[in-house]
C-alpha cells in the first residue's frame, strides 16, 4: 500500500503534461478577481469547470441530487454533485462508506429504486449528449450493459448460480448484439481469454461456484466489456478480493481501458487503488464533492482537511512504528447532515467561518475544494 503514494507522485510527472488549459478559465477568474469577489466568482467557475473543458465530455453529471424519501425523513444521499468523465480517462471517486459513492453510480444508470429514491429537479446526467435523467426505461435498458457497464463489489454473488459463466456472458451478447447462440458462445470464450482466464474453452462451461473469487470478478468484467462499452463503472471492484488478486484485477482494468479506449469510473475507498490507476480523483464526503483534481494534486497537495485526513490514515513505509492517524468520528447520517460545513465536527482545523455552508472553490487547473480556507 505504501508505495502507492510514491507511485502516484511518479506518475504525476508524466500526467501533468496531459492536463492542460483544462480550466484556464477558472484560473483566470480566481486570479484576476478582487479577493472579496474571488469566492463568488470562483464558485460559479467551479461549477462549470468540470464541463467547460475541451469538447463534450463522455459523461456529464450536473447538480445530481438523489434523495431517499423515507419514513424517518429525507435522506440526501447525494446532494448536488457535478463532474465529468472524458473519453478514455479513469476517474476515481473516493470517500468513506456512506458518503454517496455507490448511489451516484446507480443514479447514473437509473438503477435507484423509485420509491424511495428520487432524483430531484435540476439533476442531470448526460451521456454523449443524451439526457438520461427521466429517459424512458427502454432507452436506458438499451444503454446499460451496452454503452455503460457496471461491475460490482461482490463477485461471489454477482453471478447467477444456476447458469454457466459462458451462458451468462452470451446472454448479454445475444441481447445487445443480437448474436446467435453459437457466435455468442464463441465470443464468450474469446472474452474469457481476454480477461485472462486460463483454459477459457473449458471454463466457459463451468458454473460460478466452481470458480475462485478473482476468477469470478474476471468473468464479471468479461460480461461488462462484452459489448465494448464507452464507460465502465466499477463499484469497489477489488474490495472483496485479496491483495495480490486486487493488483491483477486493477492491471486488467487498466489494460482493457487502453485496448478498448473506454473510460472507467472507479469507485473505491482505497486511496492506494486510486493512486495506481486513476487520472483524476473526486473526493466525496456527506453526499457532496469536497475536493477534485488530478491524482498528483490530491496526493501531493491535498487542499481539503478531509482529503488530508484520508491521506494521513494511510500506512507508510517511510515512518515505521508510528500510530496510524485516523479521522475521529463517523460520517453523519444522510437524514441529518450537519449545518454549515458538513465535515466541521470531525475537522481538526474547524473554527470560525465553518458554520457557513461551504461552496466548492476552484483552485485552478481543474482543482476544486469545498473549504473556505483554500480560497483565501
Amino acid at each position: 500500500m505504501t508505495q502507492h503514494e510514491a507511485a502516484g507522485a511518479a506518475k504525476s510527472a508524466a500526467k501533468s503534461a496531459a492536463k492542460s488549459a483544462a480550466s484556464s478559465a477558472a484560473t483566470a477568474a480566481a486570479n484576476s478577481a478582487a479577493p472579496s469577489a474571488a469566492q463568488s466568482a470562483a464558485r460559479s467557475a467551479a461549477n462549470s469547470a468540470a464541463q467547460s473543458t475541451e469538447v463534450e465530455p463522455l459523461l456529464a453529471v450536473r447538480d445530481l441530487r438523489a434523495w431517499f424519501l423515507t419514513d424517518q425523513g429525507v435522506a440526501k444521499a447525494v446532494d448536488g454533485i457535478s463532474f465529468a468523465v472524458r473519453e478514455g480517462e479513469t476517474l476515481g471517486i473516493v470517500g468513506e462508506s456512506g458518503c454517496g459513492k455507490t448511489v451516484t453510480s446507480l443514479a447514473i444508470l437509473g438503477l435507484l429504486p423509485n420509491p424511495p429514491a428520487r432524483l430531484m429537479d435540476g439533476s442531470s446526467v448526460s451521456f454523449r449528449g443524451q439526457e438520461l435523467v427521466g429517459a424512458e426505461e427502454k432507452r436506458l435498458r438499451a444503454l446499460r450493459g451496452n454503452e455503460i457497464s457496471m461491475i460490482f463489489q461482490e463477485p461471489m454473488s454477482s453471478l447467477n448460480p444456476v447458469f454457466t459463466v459462458g451462458d451468462q456472458i452470451a446472454e448479454t451478447l445475444r441481447l445487445h448484439r443480437r448474436m446467435d447462440r453459437k457466435a455468442a458462445h464463441g465470443e464468450a470464450v474469446r472474452l474469457l481469454d481476454e480477461v485472462g482466464i486460463p483454459e477459457p474453452g473449458r471454463r466457459v462451461d463451468e458454473y460460478p461456484h466452481q470458480l475462485s473469487g478473482g476468477m469470478r470478478q474476471r468473468v464479471m468484467i468479461a460480461m461488462a466489456i462484452a459489448c465494448a462499452p464507452k464507460l465502465l463503472i466499477a463499484d469497489e471492484p477489488t474490495t472483496a478480493l485479496d491483495v495480490t488478486i486486487q493488483a491483477q484485477i486493477l492491471e486488467l482494468l487498466a489494460e482493457l481501458r487502453r485496448a478498448h479506449g473506454m473510460a472507467v469510473m472507479l469507485i473505491t475507498h482505497d486511496l492506494g487503488v486510486v493512486a495506481e490507476v486513476c487520472d483524476r480523483v473526486i473526493v466525496m464526503y456527506a453526499g457532496q464533492i469536497v475536493e477534485s483534481g488530478t491524482v498528483e494534486d490530491i496526493f501531493v497537495r491535498p487542499a481539503h482537511p478531509y482529503t488530508r485526513g484520508l491521506l494521513a490514515s494511510l500506512p507508510s513505509v517511510g515512518t515505521p512504528g508510528r500510530r496510524l492517524a485516523s479521522i475521529p468520528g463517523t460520517v453523519p447520517s444522510p437524514l441529518h447532515w450537519p449545518e454549515g460545513c458538513r465535515f466541521r465536527a470531525r475537522c481538526p482545523s474547524a473554527g470560525e467561518g465553518c458554520e457557513r455552508a461551504q461552496e466548492l472553490v476552484a483552485l485552478g487547473d481543474g482543482r476544486a475544494a469545498r473549504c473556505w480556507r483554500v480560497g483565501t
Binding site: 436506458l140 444503454l143 450493459g145 457497464s149 454477482s158 445487445h176 463451468e206
Partner: protein, 383 residues
C-alpha cells in the same frame, strides 16, 4: 504413461463389456457398479415391460387398432423399453469417458439425492406407479366396469380369476385399483402442475415488482387461503356436475397460494442479491430477469412443495371421492373404492383394504421423495 494407457485400455474393455451386458439387461451394468437406484429402476422397468409384452401379447396387438388410451399405453410401453435400453447403452459406454466440465447445482443435488436410499426407493415406486397407470389398459385383467354374475360372483375373495377379489357388483377389484391409479395420479399431477405454474409466476411477480402489484397479488392469496378449501370444493362441485376436469380445475385453482408465498419469499431475498442488480445493470428487462434469473433460482423449494403437494392432492381427491363428491361411478377411484367397502369391511375386507393401502403407499412415496429433495436441494442440509 504406460500405467494410464493400461488403465484406459481396461476401462475401454470394461465399457465394452458393460455395453454387451446392457444390450440384454439394461440397468445390470449400473447395478453391478453399485448404482442400485438407477440400475435397479432400469432393470425393473425393462423386465416389467417385457413381461407385459409377453404376457399380454394378444392385447398389445389389439391395441394397435384400439382406442386412444390403448394406443397411449402401447406407445408408453415402447417408449419405456426404448428409453431404458438406450439410456443403459449410453451410460455404460460413457462410464469411463470424459465427464462434463460444468457441475451445476442440479448435478450436485442429483448426487446428494441418489445417496438417500429411502428417497430413491420412493422415486422408484412413483415411476413404477406412473408406468402402471399408463399401461393399465394392457395390464388390467378385466374391464373395471364389467359386472360379473351378481348372484355367484359378488364379494368373491382373493382367487386366481380375481387376484384381489370382487366388489358388490361383482367387478374385479384389481382392475378397478389399476384404473383408479390413473385417476389419482392424473389429478395429483395435473392439478399440482396448474397450481405450481400459477403460484410461481404470481409469486415471482409479486416478490420482484413489489408495491401495488405485490399488494394486490398477496391480498388475493390471503383471500384464497382464508376460504375453507373443503367447503369451497364441495360448494363448487355441488353447483356443477362433478367431473375429473372440474376437480382438477378446482384443486389447481385453489392450491396455488402456497406456492406463490414460497416463491415470493424466495424472490424477496434473491432480488437483493447482486446478480439481480447486475442483470439490471446489463440492461435486461424485468420479464427476462423474472423468468430467467429469479425463477430458476427460486425453484428448489417449489419442487419440494410440488412433490409433497401431489401427495396431499391425492389424499384430498380420495377424501372427496369418499364423500361421493369426487369422481363419479362407474369410473373407479381409490377414494370411492374405500367408501364402497366400508359397510362390508368385516365380510369383504379386500374391498377397502387394497385401495386404502394404495393411497398410503403412493402418498408415502411422494413424501419420501419430497423430503429427499428438500435435503438434496438445500445446500445447508447437504452433507
Amino acid at each position: 504413461m504406460a500405467d494410464t494407457m493400461a488403465a484406459s485400455t481396461t476401462a475401454r474393455a470394461r465399457a465394452r463389456g458393460g455395453r454387451r451386458l446392457s444390450a440384454f439387461l439394461p440397468g445390470a451394468p449400473q447395478l453391478a457398479a453399485g448404482r442400485w437406484g438407477a440400475g435397479g429402476l432400469a432393470l425393473l422397468v425393462w423386465l416389467g415391460c417385457l413381461w407385459v409384452l409377453v404376457a399380454r401379447l394378444a392385447r398389445v396387438v389389439e391395441a394397435l387398432g384400439g382406442s386412444w388410451d390403448e394406443r397411449l399405453a402401447l406407445a408408453t410401453l415402447v417408449a419405456a423399453l426404448a428409453t431404458v435400453w438406450g439410456w443403459s447403452w449410453w451410460d455404460a459406454g460413457r462410464a469411463e469417458g470424459p465427464r462434463r466440465v460444468g457441475v451445476s447445482q442440479w448435478d450436485l443435488a442429483v448426487r446428494a439425492f441418489s445417496k438417500n436410499r429411502t428417497a430413491v426407493a420412493g422415486l422408484m415406486v412413483i415411476v413404477v406407479l406412473y408406468l402402471i397407470a399408463l399401461l393399465t389398459p394392457l395390464l388390467a385383467p378385466h374391464d373395471p366396469a364389467l359386472q360379473g354374475d351378481l348372484i355367484s360372483e359378488r364379494y368373491v375373495g382373493l382367487s386366481g380369476a380375481h387376484p384381489l377379489g370382487t366388489d358388490q357388483f361383482a367387478r374385479d377389484v384389481l382392475s378397478r385399483l389399476l384404473y383408479g391409479a390413473r385417476i389419482s395420479l392424473l389429478i395429483g399431477f395435473v392439478s399440482v402442475g396448474i397450481s405450481v405454474t400459477i403460484g410461481t409466476l404470481l409469486g415471482a411477480i409479486a416478490g420482484f415488482m413489489g408495491g401495488i402489484l405485490d399488494g394486490i397479488i398477496m391480498r388475493v392469496v390471503d383471500m384464497v387461503i382464508s376460504f375453507p378449501q373443503l367447503v369451497l370444493l364441495i360448494t363448487i362441485i355441488a353447483l356443477f356436475e362433478p367431473s375429473i376436469f372440474l376437480i382438477v380445475a378446482v384443486l389447481g385453482l385453489t392450491l396455488w397460494p402456497g406456492t406463490a408465498r414460497i416463491v415470493r419469499g424466495e424472490v424477496l431475498t434473491l432480488r437483493e442479491r447482486e446478480f439481480v442488480q447486475a442483470a439490471t445493470a446489463l440492461g435486461y428487462s424485468k420479464r427476462r430477469i423474472i423468468l430467467r434469473h429469479l425463477i430458476p433460482n427460486a425453484l428448489a423449494p417449489v419442487i419440494v412443495a410440488a412433490t409433497l403437494g401431489i401427495g396431499n392432492t391425492i389424499v384430498l381427491e380420495a377424501g372427496l371421492s369418499f364423500l361421493g363428491l369426487g369422481v363419479q361411478p362407474p369410473t373407479p377411484s381409490w377414494g370411492t373404492m374405500v367408501a364402497d367397502g366400508r359397510n362390508v369391511l368385516l365380510n369383504a375386507w379386500w374391498l377397502s383394504t387394497f385401495p386404502g393401502l394404495a393411497i398410503v403407499f403412493t402418498v408415502l412415496s411422494f413424501n419420501l421423495v419430497g423430503d429427499g429433495l428438500r435435503d438434496a436441494l438445500d445446500p445447508r442440509l447437504r452433507s
